[in-house]
């Protein structure tokens, strides 16, 4: 693929977004928006995870935690001020980013595996805190009354869909911009050999913290509209393990080395799940996601993008012996 400068990439992304938004006006069935919202939400989550997981090589298992921070920030904002959705999204992003910063500062100086374990435990503790916090409903959950219409007079679900569409475009543009920036190259050196990067003068802790905060903030932003989407939120649905599994499985299945992988993974997997949830059962389709993820991790380490690239390379030149 020829190199496209980030400016033009964002322009193309914006045009694609606009085209989808306009063509969505012709959708006659509201279910399209409900399903589309979930798919786009996973595009944001998978892209956000990949900024830390794929570019830097640090695995975040606490995605459900960051996502729920965003959702519950929105609940708090709604109960206090009933602000416009955009404000709630911004607050959710800031809160998640701050949690990412705090946890990253404590654990990112150690080996990556400690960070991974800490994120896993973080989700459980945040769930404990929310369960004990009566203001946001505690374990009973909380009802949010969704306005009938968005600010432009459309049904509210269409507004949520468009918001998520814009969010996913922003997330993809950020990921793409990082890839070809000084930050991105710095993150790649950390992924390949952290010790060598540190020795060569790369400020590893600073870069890792930036990646963690960006990734966490995007997850929080993806979570903020959730209360309006589901209208009833309780800790076990906000912290659902499915969020964590999906946002890790999608980049791993799509391919972690570029922005394209998580997008492909999310579009593919989330669409299949939307169909499977309706036609089969939701527990079974999560099992399928888990099995596919383990299969890809074991057999195709570079995901769908990797398989495709290998196919292209094999056609161009005689197969080179793979390095052991």
């Amino acid at each position: 693929m020829p190199y496209i400068p980030t400016r033009y990439f964002c322009l193309i992304a914006a045009l694609v977004t606009l085209a989808i938004a306009v063509s969505a006006r012709f959708a006659t069935n509201d279910y399209f928006f409900f399903a589309g919202y979930v798919v786009l939400q996973y595009v944001v989550m998978a892209t956000a995870w990949n900024i830390l997981g794929g570019y830097t090589g640090y695995v975040n298992f606490g995605t459900a935690g960051f996502f729920a921070i965003g959702a519950y920030s929105a609940v708090v904002m709604h109960k206090l001020f009933e602000p416009p959705l955009v404000v709630s999204i911004a607050v959710g992003g800031v809160m998640s980013g701050l949690v990412g910063l705090g946890m990253g500062y404590l654990t990112l100086r150690l080996r990556g595996v400690f960070f991974a374990i800490a994120t896993l435990a973080l989700a459980i503790v945040l769930q404990t805190l929310i369960t004990n916090w009566d203001f946001v409903g505690g374990s009973r959950g909380v009802y949010i009354i969704r306005p009938a219409n968005g600010p432009f007079g459309h049904p509210y679900i269409q507004y949520l869909f468009l918001t998520m569409l814009v969010l996913s475009t922003i997330a993809v543009c950020i990921a793409r911009a990082i890839e070809h920036s000084k930050l991105g190259y710095g993150l790649a050196t950390i992924r390949d050999d952290e010790l060598a990067a540190e020795a060569a003068g790369v400020p590893t802790l600073k870069l890792k913290l930036i990646a963690t905060v960006l990734s966490g903030a995007l997850m929080g932003m993806a979570g903020a509209p959730l209360p309006y989407y589901v209208t009833y939120l309780d800790p076990s649905s906000g912290f659902n393990l499915a969020f964590a599994v999906n946002s890790i499985a999608m980049p791993l299945i799509g391919g972690t080395s570029s922005w394209l992988g998580p997008v492909i993974g999310a579009l593919l997997l989330a669409t299949i799940q939307q169909i499977a949830t309706v036609t089969i059962s939701s527990a079974l389709n999560l099992l399928i996601v888990g099995v596919i993820m383990v299969g890809f991790v074991v057999a195709a380490p570079n995901g769908i993008v990797g398989l495709f690239e290998r196919g292209v390379r094999a056609r161009r030149r005689p197969a080179k012996k793979e390095a052991a």
Binding site: G53, T107, G112, T128, P301
Partner: protein
């Protein structure tokens, strides 16, 4: 008030003993072999459900059931290590993909158990579930005391095995210097295979203990991830005495929290300890 306090401490020590049984497998796999087996709690739940089936369908005592299942868990562990070795460790990709692999196994096991057993709480019956013995003011519920004894025996036996037998010493050698063994033309993965299989085998007994202590439902395994790794890190990765101390400490702290603040807060205790340990003293209480 005082007797409440004493009872909380005693209950915490008993709970800590059980936590040691849960953590000993991870102390071997993560502490000694450097394999971050996130799926360990899922195997413990699997062990609990096997004990449940053997108990309700055949009337076998849960502890006996745990012992009967040991060989199967050993083979399961050996099989998982083979996949792990050929897919990740040999290629040097264990960091990101190995973690995702174990996370996937954790998830698959949990969902599979939910599909088979549903989300109802299951429990076992045994003569020692219910009665208590009393020492002064302190109550020792037998359903806590039996797992405590099993756990101490198991950890003690493993400690003896590691320090006295040839294979045990070989495992310690692998945990100390993997590269040196390779240079001496020894294949560490054979020893690692045995050690990892043993670590999974402990999940069988730990699972039996778990279902004696409390009713079990497939997703409670997740609550143990933070606890188990907190204990292993705090205990100094792979040191059994350190792990036992850390387990007791977290058990007592959780028990005190549950008594004085309410049980819904106790999952936060282990995480607090984990973060504190990682931030202040990553080498653990009795680091090597």
């Amino acid at each position: 008030m005082f007797s409440l306090f004493v009872n909380a401490i005693v209950a915490g020590l008993l709970l800590g003993g059980f936590y040691a049984a849960v953590s000993v497998g991870v102390a071997i796999s993560f502490g000694m072999l450097d394999i971050a087996n996130l799926a360990h709690p899922a195997f413990i739940i699997l062990g609990a459900f096997i004990a449940y089936i053997l108990n309700t369908d055949f009337g076998i005592d849960p502890v006996v059931a745990g012992v009967l299942a040991l060989p199967f868990f050993y083979l399961l562990g050996a099989a998982i290590y083979q996949v792990y070795y050929y897919s990740f460790e040999r290629r040097g990709e264990e960091a990101l993909r190995g973690l995702a692999f174990f996370f996937g196994i954790l998830f698959i096991t949990e969902v599979a158990l939910i599909l088979i057993f549903g989300v109802d709480y299951r429990f076992v019956t045994a003569p020692y579930i219910g009665p208590s013995i009393y020492i002064g003011d302190a109550e020792l519920p037998l359903r806590m005391f039996v797992p405590f004894v099993i756990s101490i025996v198991m950890v003690g036996a493993l400690q003896l095995f590691l320090s006295k037998t040839f294979i045990g010493r070989a495992i310690l050698a692998v945990s100390q210097d993997d590269l040196a063994l390779k240079l001496m033309a020894i294949r560490p993965q054979r020893i690692k295979n045995i050690a990892f299989a043993i670590s999974i085998a402990t999940a069988s007994l730990a699972g039996a203990c778990l279902i004696i202590i409390q009713p079990v439902e497939p997703s409670i395994g997740r609550d143990y991830i933070g606890r188990v790794f907190a204990i292993v890190v705090l205990g100094g990765m792979g040191s059994f005495p350190g792990m036992l101390t850390a387990a007791m400490l977290i058990g007592v702290m959780e028990s005190l929290t549950a008594t004085f603040y309410g049980p819904s807060w106790s999952p936060a205790v282990a995480f607090g300890f984990l973060l504190l340990a990682l931030a202040v003293r990553p080498a653990g209480l009795m680091g090597r």
